[in-house]
Symmetry: C2
């Protein structure tokens, strides 16, 4: 498996697949790089370069076979058995994220939720069992969880992250606005709403 | 105002400011580009290039003056009067996003919320008044709103977007998993949770 791909390429490959997924049952359907590029505000060169990196070259006359494309992207970016994910912090945001992921077609399985509110422990959020954060080490090992989605209040973000890393978590999707310092080998991705809004604000200035 | 900056630069400038904001009251405090870079997993060259683009050069011996840096970034990316933002769709996710933005220090002001559930219309979510989506055109004009945060259910995302654009919205932060087609001149930013998870999953593979 090629883990040398740049993060932006992986991000785009995932987007190509999500966009194409609805056409996957169309037997023999093809798409041109410029069409795919147009749908995602990219250049056709970018799309062709990304696909070339995972060994796909299109047909000049017909473009890319959609079904093959989806398959090859999956071979590149998916683990075969799927990935086990924990949701950490069950407030409004945590519930919203959970609902969102449940509706999507993905191999990312949320198999545990953590909180410190005793009224939530040993209940289920949707179908997901909820545990006390103090049991994270045990649960993370038992369920082979490697990714955590962090939706705790900002004031406990740093302490919670330390605990998750000690429990064996290797990747974190950080929904708190808090800057997290993680050691090398841990993959951290920040979801920063304010930064996104400020970016939009900048680009719509007259 | 320089709207020629690349989106990624604007994104990073916003991050520099959010990270430095907590040090802003330290009179005379400085920071080196390599320190700032390290905190955000960037290279010092990247940081220096970004800051050079908005006319800031650091002092070789002391680095960048933090207060000046925050001010210059603000002069570049903020509108002076702040920006009026609407929240569209008041479910769990909408409420969570609203709470998140309220706690952050930002010039992004959520001044209206929209929904179609009559039990929510004419109430307040936090301090934010809630209107029927059918009144969007009027409210958007009256309150000079230019940005919308889209947290509606996926099945109504496309229709809602069309309505918002007709109402004069110029920028959209899309939290639905739906691909939106927007005309040139509209700035769209997708918040794609699945793509982020798949990216993390890829990079933590052994």
């Amino acid at each position: 498996m090629n883990t040398k791909l740049p993060p932006r390429t992986v991000e785009r490959l995932s987007k190509y697949r999500r966009l194409l997924d609805k056409y996957k049952d169309l037997e023999g359907a093809h798409i041109y790089s410029h069409k795919l590029a147009g749908l995602l505000n990219l250049t056709p060169e970018q799309v062709r370069r990304d696909l070339m990196l995972i060994g796909i070259t299109g047909n000049h006359r017909r473009g890319y076979n959609i079904k093959e494309l989806i398959g090859m992207i999956g071979n590149t970016i998916d683990r075969h058995e799927g990935q086990q994910v924990a949701l950490v912090g069950i407030g409004n945001l945590g519930r919203a994220v959970l609902g969102f992921i449940r509706k999507a077609e993905t191999r990312m399985n949320i198999v545990a939720a953590f909180d410190i509110d005793r009224s939530k422990i040993n209940t289920h959020i949707g179908n997901v069992p909820c545990f006390h954060l103090h049991d994270a080490r045990q649960v993370v090992r038992d369920k082979s969880i490697r990714i955590a989605i962090l939706t705790v209040p900002p004031e406990v973000a740093v302490a919670t992250t330390a605990m998750l890393l000690q429990s064996g978590i290797r990747g974190i999707l950080n929904f708190t606005s808090v800057h997290l310092d993680v050691p090398p080998g841990i993959y951290l991705k920040d979801y920063d709403i304010i930064t996104s809004l400020e970016e939009i604000g900048f680009f719509i200035q007259e």
